[in-house]
Amino acid sequence: MSSLPKHLALTAVLTIAAGSVSAQQLAPSPTLDAIKARGHLECGVHLGLPGFSYANDKGEWSGIDVDYCRALAAAILGDATKVKFTPTSVQQRWPVLQSGQVDVLARNTTITFSRNATLGVNFQGINFYEGQTFVVRKGAAATPKDLDGASVCVAAGSTEEKNAADWFKERGLKISIINFQKNDDAIAAYDSGRCDAYTAGIGALAGQRIKLKKPDDNVVMTETISNDPQGPTTRWNDERFQLVVRWVLNGQIAAEAYGVTSKNVDEMKASSQSGDIRRLLGVEGGFGAMMGIPNDWMYQAIKQVGNYAESYERTVGLGSPLKLARGKNELWTKGGALFSPPFQ
């Protein structure tokens, strides 16, 4: 409690320095206080999904969702290793968040209105644009539209079957759907050449491609026929913690846009003249203090984990076995859908 007045004073000074209109005071944040008190972040992740959240041979968690948690830990505590992971099943993901067993959920979960409105959770941005797409043999087709006249293997009665049928019908295109009892049968049929394509979510397809007989002869399309954005999720209340969760993700994306990487971040911090970069890295603006965390929050996150592109390429992108192109998960300036609001 004794540090609170100091914090308030500091915040007031910094906000005035930053030219802000109102002198705001630091709202209470039980979650941030708890994280600092226990010395680590509690992060809920997927039980095991290639590229998103999995344990490697050494037992270390990796993946794009795991990377986000590490960045958040680096921003709050200055150390990307100070995070503990709670793997969660589909049924468990909401209760562990609601009951406070985890601070944040980064678990490949689609953002929807009804979840937002009824589960007492808030989605803090998008770290992966998931969506249904197709795996095809290399060079056969580049986008879903090119599949006109092709045959597609699907599991009978699945959402994917209905989605695909509707999508092509709406566009006056023809595909022949070949039904199988199970997903595994449909993949095996595709692999043996019975059909031209197999369809599923882009993240799942990237993992399944590796299982094919000749993975490198097949490619996962990056254009999707459905939109299932996913991102870090928090409980309702505690707006200050939500602020941190949201802006660490924004910060990773902004860092990519500004060209700040884990390799050049020291140099950027020391010599960049760009106001955006200086505020992002905490050289000026005092943005960290406004949220009640160190001012070098994004410097630590980028230094220790990397910007969005580094994280993506390492976990699901071309630098990983999944070899997923950026697609929609590319900056808006490069044809994707990712952007960060300005760091101003």
């Binding site: 039980l47 344990a55 037992g59």
Partner: protein, 376 residues
């Protein structure tokens, strides 16, 4: 008979050992004859035997090729697995995780020690004629469980290891052993309660048994792991692994209670009456006369429940606890090993089978000795 023996020639690896007069030199003439009579007694028997043998060979050869002959053992990555057989490189790379989960490398000796103690105690209790078994068993029952928890969980000069870092085979064994330690005494108490002459106790025991026997174990695990933290005030949460053990233990206790009740009902009423005639009260009658005999009778059924418990532990995966099966499945999510599904499940399956087979052998040994005791 000679004609039947001649039919044995195309069957089995020992065929070359059968002499022209029908004598089998390796396993002896009597065994050979009985063997031949059983398998080739009639033309129909012979046909069935040959069909089964063909089926076995048809299934076994590809399996053997996949498991051993064409399998890759050496190497470090999936690229080393070029053969058409199993990629045991995967299991080798993950072996530590399959056994210990995410238990810290430097502390794994504690798990080994706890496991060795467990094996030593169970083996010596099954050892026929070992002196001082009763005090040893009693001491193991009193000291063992807390000692095991201390070794695994740490504290008191040992580095604490959170239960979320536990996993793999050690977790499966932990859940089985502690589940049984909870279930067996509770099951006995419930069974005695259900036989009690006092209506209130009988009612309570019956309701408890029927409730826990009636709810699915999955529902209990969900309740324990998801609803309890939501209901209980923040921070008062019991460790999630402890919740799973308690949930499993309560369910299995109800099943065990019924197994013990079967044993109790199998005893002739004369036993209790004779004990009463000797002036023994309820507790001494139960403890000295009834229970030892009832437990001996219900041992096969209890073993059954215990084996069921071992296999039911894999249900904890749905509450995100990585037991042996869970850790094998989780390993498949590593892009470095995606698609090694058969290897993961074959390995886990063999371990489960070995555990359950060992258990049933152990109980058979105990049973045999028990029967001898009765006869003497």
């Amino acid at each position: 008979m000679n004609g039947a023996d001649a039919g044995l020639v195309p069957f089995g690896p020992g065929q070359a050992e059968i002499a022209s007069d029908g004598r089998v030199t390796i396993i002896g003439p009597r065994h050979g004859r009985r063997f031949a009579r059983n398998l080739f007694g009639t033309p129909l028997d012979a046909a069935i035997t040959l069909a089964c043998a063909a089926l076995l060979v048809w299934a076994a050869i590809p399996l053997l090729r996949w498991l051993v002959l064409d399998a890759t053992v050496s190497g470090t990555t999936r690229d080393d697995c070029t053969g058409s057989g199993a990629c045991w490189v995967f299991v080798r790379a993950r072996f530590g995780q399959f056994m210990y989960g995410f238990y810290p490398q430097a502390e794994r000796w504690r798990v080994d020690l706890a496991g060795a103690l467990l094996v030593a105690v169970t083996a010596s209790l099954a050892w026929p004629g070992l002196p001082g078994k009763r005090p040893l068993g009693l001491a193991a029952l009193i000291v063992g469980p807390p000692l095991g928890v201390w070794l695994l969980h740490g504290g008191w000069s040992l580095r604490p290891v959170e239960t979320r870092e536990w996993g793999g085979l050690m977790l499966t064994v932990f859940l089985s052993v502690y589940g049984a330690l909870l279930a067996l005494p509770l099951g006995i108490v419930l069974a005695l309660g259900r036989q009690s002459r006092l209506p209130v106790i009988r009612l309570i025991a019956t309701i408890a048994i029927e409730f826990w026997r009636g709810v699915p174990i999955i529902a209990v695990l969900f309740l324990a792991s998801l609803l309890l933290p939501l209901i209980l005030p923040d921070g008062a949460g019991i460790d999630r692994l402890a919740r799973a053990v308690i949930g499993l233990g309560l369910c299995i206790a109800a099943y065990m209670a019924e197994a013990v009740r079967g044993g109790l009902q199998a005893l002739p009423p004369g036993q209790a009456e004779a004990a009463a005639a000797l002036g023994l009260g309820y507790w001494r009658t139960t403890g000295l006369v009834i229970l030892p005999q009832a437990l001996r009778v219900s041992l096969p059924a209890l073993t059954n429940e215990f084996i069921a418990l071992v296999k039911n532990t894999s249900l904890v995966l749905i509450v995100s606890i990585f037991d042996l099966l869970g850790i094998a499945q989780a390993a498949l999510a590593d892009p470095a090993w995606v698609g090694k599904t058969w290897e993961a499940y074959a390995f886990a399956g063999v371990i489960y089978w070995l555990m359950c087979f060992g258990l049933s052998r152990w109980s058979l040994a105990v049973e045999r000795r028990g029967r001898r005791g009765v006869r003497n």
